[in-house]
């Protein structure tokens, strides 16, 4: 009996300690969003003393799984949810609500020594599928192509696969990097390299595209005009073909604390941070949809 009493007491002490701890909003997921959301969270916490947010990356798949398993409150994701993720969420009683917090032009980058300035989207797909292995075939120098991409838990990996590779598999020659920053480091050192990163990762401290990188214009159709992911009008209009919204998801109606943070992210002040970090602000239609989902 004495032993049982001791165990019960120890359990109560641990439980009490856990319950008395401050509630931290856990945000997890997309590596494209992680830096941006960290800055948004820091600004929000400065303005709201006593609030606590922890922001982690790991990829969109990690965030979606975290929301489904209850290990995070907000999932960052840079792609739509897959059918099997929606099925699993349903099984676990999770009813996701989505909030667009930024717009991204996925940027196709090469080393600045590569003479190409633009590419057709179909050629980008052919390169990443491994159908084309030399830059000469797409109007570049006679040089082998080195592919840099993300790991399969990345939303950008999936987005590119669905929208650029025509749902085909990536070439097995692609180097699967941990994050956007690693892709950029690879391209800077590889004249034959091609990579894809979120637009927010292109810039240096002065707000210019990082030295040594070239951002390619991309055309939607073989005969169409190529546009830059740095051109907000082209991204907003859909003329830049590799653009997407970046989302957060909550399990059902967000809690008061989560909702307050999301309201800050989509406010004018939050969206100014989005733009400052190199992404694009959400459209009025996306903002209206967000407001609806917050209610």
């Amino acid at each position: 009996m004495k032993k049982i009493t001791l165990i019960a007491l120890a359990t109560l002490i641990v439980l009490g300690g856990l319950l008395m701890g401050a509630k931290t909003i856990q945000v997890k997921g997309s590596d494209t969003l992680v830096n941006l959301v960290q800055i948004l969270a820091e600004t929000y916490m400065e303005k709201n003393p006593g609030s606590a947010l922890a922001v982690l990356g790991g990829g969109s798949s990690t965030g979606i799984a975290g929301l489904t398993n209850g290990t995070c409150d907000i999932a960052n994701h840079s792609r739509e949810w897959k059918a099997k993720e929606i099925d699993l969420a349903w099984e676990k009683g999770v009813k996701p609500r989505f909030f667009a917090v930024a717009v991204d032009g996925v940027s196709i980058i090469v080393n600045e020594k590569n003479p190409l300035n633009e590419m057709k989207m179909s050629d980008v797909g052919a390169l990443y599928r491994g159908d084309i292995k030399n830059w000469k075939a797409v109007g570049g120098p006679s040089l082998g192509v080195s592919l840099y991409g993300r790991q399969s838990n990345s939303g950008t990996y999936v987005f590119m696969q669905e929208h650029v590779l025509g749902n085909k598999n990536y070439s097995t020659d692609m180097k699967e990097m941990n994050g956007n920053a690693q892709i950029i480091e690879g391209i800077l050192q590889d004249e034959g390299g091609i990579g894809y990163v979120g637009v927010g990762y292109l810039f240096d401290q002065s707000g210019k595209v990082r030295k040594g990188l070239k951002v390619l214009n991309v055309s939607k159709t073989p005969d169409g005009q190529a546009f830059s992911p740095l051109d907000k009008a082209a991204v907003d209009s859909g003329n830049y073909p590799v653009a997407r919204a970046l989302y957060q998801a909550t399990n059902g109606k967000p809690t008061a604390a989560s909702a307050d943070f999301i309201r800050f992210e989509i406010s004018d002040e939050g969206q100014q941070i989005v733009v400052k970090e190199g992404f694009f602000a959400i459209s009025p239609a996306q903002r209206a949809e967000n407001e609806k989902n917050l209610r």
Binding site: V14, I86, E91, G93, S152
Partner: protein, 380 residues
């Protein structure tokens, strides 16, 4: 050359023709280990009975390694995944056999309890096979029997689930396993309904096929509302004829199982499973008997990746004709991550009650056992 040999040769040549780079996808190596510090909190039950003699060993407290898994997974591409899993337990192993006499007149064996690895999983998983949302597994694969309950219970490190957990306690094998050689097909028709079917040797991962019969398993899951699922399961296998009375020329075994899971409240899982194992082989006084039971369990995560509470109640009937053998078990404990989620401490207490404890140990003077386990879970 037989048809099957031709097929095997074709597959082999095809695999060899694959460029080696295409087999090097995302590779991961992981290890999971759990072990206990176990101590008895009762001393008169069938399991915890203290010997009358002081010189007889009484293992009322001990460190006990229960499982060590080593996993290698290779995600070859978005649809193709390979898994190799070594499992290790310390079930007594015969380490040597000595024969004496010429001609041989005596045999002696030596045993030890070292953790020894064996292959638990060795399979390919092909997603979007033939049509989207269809998954094919082939090789030494996970069967359909325990998986939904194990996933919801979530504490395999503390205790096996109902169907799997009592074979060792009662000595009544119910021909159910977590892995076997064969193939399964799973298909998600909609978020409301998914189904799976499998065919296996039926001899499980510890034995090669020993007859011409195969085991079939079918499973259907309906989730009519978000967070509430019902899973129905059935398996069947013919066995070799037996001569013992009553003579069976086409004996068979089958299991019916129904699970229900309630996951509508955030961080709370409530699950239940019921099963009956029917067969033509187990007989008592010439009469066939079933094995069955039900289990209800719940876990509540107070702080994700930090602290959770769990509890379970099992009611198990090893012989439907002899209810004195019935037992119930209550498990309660908590799951605590003190520093990093790769290391969990899961203190748990088991209260096992028997219809008649003397049926399991003739000298028992109590019909219950209480055991405290301090379970350590390591994953890296």
């Amino acid at each position: 050359m037989t048809k099957s040999l031709k097929l095997a040769a074709f597959l082999f040549v095809g695999l060899m023709a694959l460029p080696s780079a295409s087999l090097l996808g995302q590779q991961t190596f992981t290890t999971t280990i759990y072990f206990d510090y176990m101590t008895f909190m009762s001393n008169a039950g069938p399991y915890t009975l203290k010997p009358s003699s002081e010189t007889t060993a009484y293992k009322n407290n001990q460190f006990l390694f229960r499982r060590a898994y080593f996993n290698y997974e290779n995600k070859i591409n978005d649809n193709l995944k390979f898994r190799f899993r070594f499992d290790a337990d310390n079930t007594a192993n015969i380490t040597s056999v000595s024969l004496t006499g010429d001609p041989v007149s005596g045999v002696s064996t030596k045993k030890d309890d070292k953790l020894r690895p064996y292959i638990k999983h060795l399979f390919l998983e092909y997603s979007n096979f033939l049509v989207p949302k269809m998954v094919l597994n082939i090789g030494m694969i996970e069967t359909l029997t325990f998986k939904p309950a194990e996933d919801r219970w979530g504490y395999r490190s503390v205790a096996k689930t109902l169907v799997d957990g009592y074979k060792d306690i009662t000595g009544m094998d119910i021909l159910a396993t977590s892995a076997d050689i064969g193939l399964t097909m799973k298909y998600s028709f909609a978020k409301f309904f998914r189904a799976a079917a499998g065919i296996y040797n039926g001899t499980h991962y510890s034995h090669a096929e020993n007859d011409q019969f195969k085991e079939i398993e079918v499973q259907a899951q309906i989730t009519p509302i978000a967070g509430f699922s019902i899973v129905g399961y059935y398996d069947y296998e013919r066995k070799l004829p037996v001569a013992s009375p009553p003579a069976e020329t086409a004996p068979a075994t089958s299991m019916f199982k129904v699970d229900a899971y309630f996951e509508m409240i955030k961080n709370f899982v409530l699950g239940g499973e019921w099963f009956v194992f029917k067969n033509d082989l187990y007989q008592s006084g010439g009469e066939k008997y079933d094995v069955g039971g039900f289990s209800v369990f719940g876990r509540y995560t107070i702080k994700p990746d930090s602290f959770a509470l769990f509890a379970r109640y099992d009611d198990y009937t090893p012989n439907s004709l002899d209810r004195d053998l019935d037992m119930t078990m209550i498990i309660a404990g908590f799951d605590w991550v003190p520093f990093h989620k790769s290391w969990k401490i899961q203190p748990n207490i088991w209260l096992r009650s028997y219809g008649d404890g003397t049926r399991y140990n003739a000298n028992a003077t109590s019909n219950s056992d209480i055991v405290l386990n301090l379970t350590f879970f390591l994953s890296f």
